[in-house]
């Protein structure tokens, strides 16, 4: 069987990236380089109020004093921040009264991603705010959302139309000085989504944004802010793919979530960025800061992520549990193949009384990849009656990959209860043979077993995206038998 496995491993390593193509959108791109002038240019381009420019500049000046963190279990050549371009916008900015006005190239892009807007429009229940290279070009279902008072637009637009909301919450969950990449993002963030759900409103549809990195050498600095007011609910999905590139592309996004009293935010990510060739060359560097603040009592923030892409993933969606009785959840599947490196996990910071958190992490490694779970559960002195349950499972496909867990637990209140379970396993040959015997070829068998292994996490995804995530898992693991 070893020989056959080698063959299959070889096949997957040589498989072309499905979304590897690029579309000419006549991008308007800023020359590479990063100075105060760059920051001013971006801010001016977006016609931002002066408070936001000052905010960006403060972040920039701070960033200049910081050094890139290297504590993750990852290896990559130094990033030359002066060699990147920090602004790129599609030149044709369509006035989207109807789809006919959309740049046909753009529609083609969506078609290839399998999310044509025509389809989306008909697929009632899903509003898409598509971000192509920094500038949001399409928002659908706006009216329907507006009826309920839901605001769902690009962050740039929100800065213009809802400045008070943006000003009140921007940078409150991830402060500009939080970390190197967050500071950089705060200085040069291009665009992203803004969501506000008013008191007592249950958002009538899944909100979904497809991010896409499109222009050459363009750093991508998305910034998303979601605020759920008292007694509201929203489910938000972020999905990403990127075209094939020779040079590594830096992606340093920031996502901030704020849940007020009894609000519930469900944030799901399916990430399929270009992982690079079999040696990891050309893939996306994904350094993301995602954090939620359960500010209100009995609020709930739930992160679900399926990470299959990028050559480097550095990502720790976290929850600050401030409100009494608030809950944080983290459900994660991280798949690495070939030379991919993922260092991902979560931080659950318990501050309020009777707060609770759940962490379910499934790491799957194949090829020569490295997959690390890094987590922190902190129970502050104020968090009387706090509880956490963590389960971190690793699955190894093949014998050249690595799985690591770095769970960190700090309990400063004697009533705190923390449970941690961890397992490392391999797919058993007898499982594969059993499925083979029922007519299922090995690749499919592996996909089925892996899907089963991730079920707890996949079950958290909204139905329509769970299907997509399953497909992605299958694609990214084709042939990785061990």
């Amino acid at each position: 069987m070893a020989e056959e496995q080698d063959k299959l491993l070889h096949e997957i390593t040589n498989r072309e990236y499905e979304h590897g193509w690029s579309v000419d959108l006549e991008a308007e791109t800023l020359e590479p380089g990063l100075t105060e002038d760059t920051v001013r240019f971006i801010s001016a381009k977006k016609n931002e109020p002066s408070w936001l420019l000052e905010w960006r500049l403060k972040a920039f000046r701070h960033w200049q004093q910081m050094t890139e963190p290297h504590w993750g279990l990852m290896h990559y050549p130094p990033i030359d921040y002066q060699a990147l371009s920090y602004y790129s916008a599609p030149k044709k900015k369509p006035e989207l009264a109807s789809l006919d006005e959309v740049d046909p190239e753009l529609l083609k892009t969506f078609d290839r991603l399998g999310i044509s807007l025509q389809e989306q429009k008909m697929l009632a229940g899903v509003a898409v705010d598509a971000v192509i290279d920094s500038v949001s070009v399409k928002t659908t279902f706006k009216e329907k959302l507006a009826e309920k008072g839901v605001i769902f637009c690009s962050l740039s637009e929100a800065v213009q139309e809802h400045p008070d909301l943006v000003k009140a919450y921007l940078g409150t969950v991830v402060p500009i000085k939080d970390n190197f990449f967050a500071a950089l993002n705060s200085a040069v963030f291009s665009d992203g989504s803004f969501v506000y759900i008013p008191k007592g409103v249950r958002c009538p549809m899944e909100l979904s944004t497809y991010f896409r990195i499109n222009a050459m050498n363009t750093g991508q600095f998305e910034r998303t802010l979601i605020v759920a007011d008292d007694d509201s609910y929203v489910s938000y999905l972020e999905g990403c793919t990127a075209p094939m590139r020779d040079e590594n592309q830096l992606h340093a996004a920031v996502v901030e979530l704020v849940a007020l009293n009894r609000a519930h935010i469900k944030y799901s990510t399916v990430q399929n960025w270009y992982p690079g060739d079999k040696n990891g060359k050309g893939g996306i560097y994904n350094f993301v800061t995602k954090r939620g603040n359960c500010l209100g009592e009995n609020s709930l923030i739930s992160w679900t992520q399926v990470e299959t892409g990028s050559s480097i993933t550095w990502k720790y969606p976290s929850v600050l549990l401030k409100g009494d009785g608030s809950k944080g959840e983290f459900f994660s599947v991280a798949v690495t193949a070939n030379a991919q490196q993922a260092d991902t996990g979560t931080k659950m910071v318990h501050l309020g009384r009777n707060t609770s958190s759940t962490i379910i992490s499934k790491g799957i490694s194949a090829g020569q990849s490295n997959n690390s779970y890094r987590g922190l559960v902190k129970i502050a002195p104020s968090a009387t009656g706090a509880r956490n349950f963590s389960q971190c499972d690793s699955l190894l496909l093949g014998s050249h990959c690595g799985a690591h867990t770095f769970p960190s637990i700090e309990v400063d209140n004697a009533t705190g209860k923390v449970e941690h379970e961890a397992t490392t396993s391999k797919i058993a040959e007898d499982q594969i043979f059993y499925l083979n015997q029922r007519g299922i070829p090995t690749e499919k068998a592996v996909a089925l077993i892996v899907n089963g292994y991730c079920r707890e996490v996949l079950d958290q995804l909204p139905m329509e995206f769970a299907v997509e995530a399953r497909k992605l898992l299958e694609i990214s693991l084709e042939g990785s038998v061990g």
Binding site: E429, F433, Q437, R438, G439, L448
Partner: protein, 252 residues
């Protein structure tokens, strides 16, 4: 042309010979029973027919409907109509029985050049076959074999066999550990499927199963070979006298 023709089969695992020149011919419409002491190579034979590559075939041939089975991958053998009811069915956490069965069914159909089965027809078949083996419908929503009792696992194997309607079914000690009711149900499943176009190879330790599934031929497998072939009476004799007398005659 016979359905299964095994000639002079030698097989080993980790260099240790297990099958040592086994011959067996099975025609369609027939049920053969294989009996034999523990460790004699019965499960090995079953695994080799199904294509488990943990075993190295050092000599001999296996033909299925006139074609060499050894050239086919395990999933291709399944599509050709070979089914193995495992002695120890494997658990697959998180994969529901329904999803598993649907995937199996459609993968086999795809290999046969057929369209996937209509969901309604599939569900109908599931219900029919569940009823046949008196399998609790709730089990369909559970993960494959996970948390199934011993008896449920065995009935689940027969359920899968009934779903896939193979040409050749090898049952590896499907009766072991079953009480008399479960045994009757398993036999009922097999008998319902039995027809002139398929064949069964029933591996068992106990003559009692053969009261329910009446075999056309009984073989005794010992030390990696078929050392005696007879009718159902042979099974009675084995039950009463054990294997030693044959092994003795064999030596003599």
């Amino acid at each position: 042309m016979s359905m299964l023709e095994i000639k002079n089969l030698h097989a080993s695992v980790d260099g240790k010979p297990i099958l040592k020149g086994l011959n067996l011919t099975l025609n369609k419409g027939e049920v053969h029973a294989i009996m034999g002491p523990n460790g004699s190579g019965k499960s090995t034979l079953a695994s080799i027919i199904a294509g488990n590559d943990a075993y190295e075939i050092t000599e001999g041939s296996i033909e299925f409907e006139g074609k060499s089975l050894l050239d086919l991958e395990p999933h291709e053998r399944a599509a050709a109509g070979v089914f193995l009811a495992f002695q120890y069915p494997v658990e697959i956490p998180g994969v529901s029985m329904m999803n598993f069965m649907k995937t199996a069914m459609n993968e086999i159909r795809a290999q046969q050049g057929l369209e996937p089965m209509e969901p309604a027809a599939f569900l109908k078949r599931v219900r029919e076959k569940q009823a046949l083996v008196e399998l609790d419908a709730k089990l369909a929503n559970r993960s494959v074999n996970q948390g199934f009792s011993g008896g449920e696992k065995k009935r689940n194997e027969v359920f899968q066999m009934a779903m896939l309607e193979p040409k050749l079914a090898v049952l590896d000690e499907t009766d072991s550990g079953l009480d008399i009711d479960a045994l009757r149900i398993v036999a009922q499943g097999v008998n319902a499927l039995r027809n002139t176009n398929n064949a069964f190879l029933v591996i068992t330790h106990y003559q009692r199963l053969l009261d329910y599934i009446v075999p056309d031929v009984v073989h005794v497998l010992a030390n990696g070979k078929i050392i005696k072939t007879g009718t159902k009476d042979l099974a009675f004799k084995l039950e009463a006298k054990g294997y030693d007398w044959i092994l003795e005659t064999e030596k003599a």
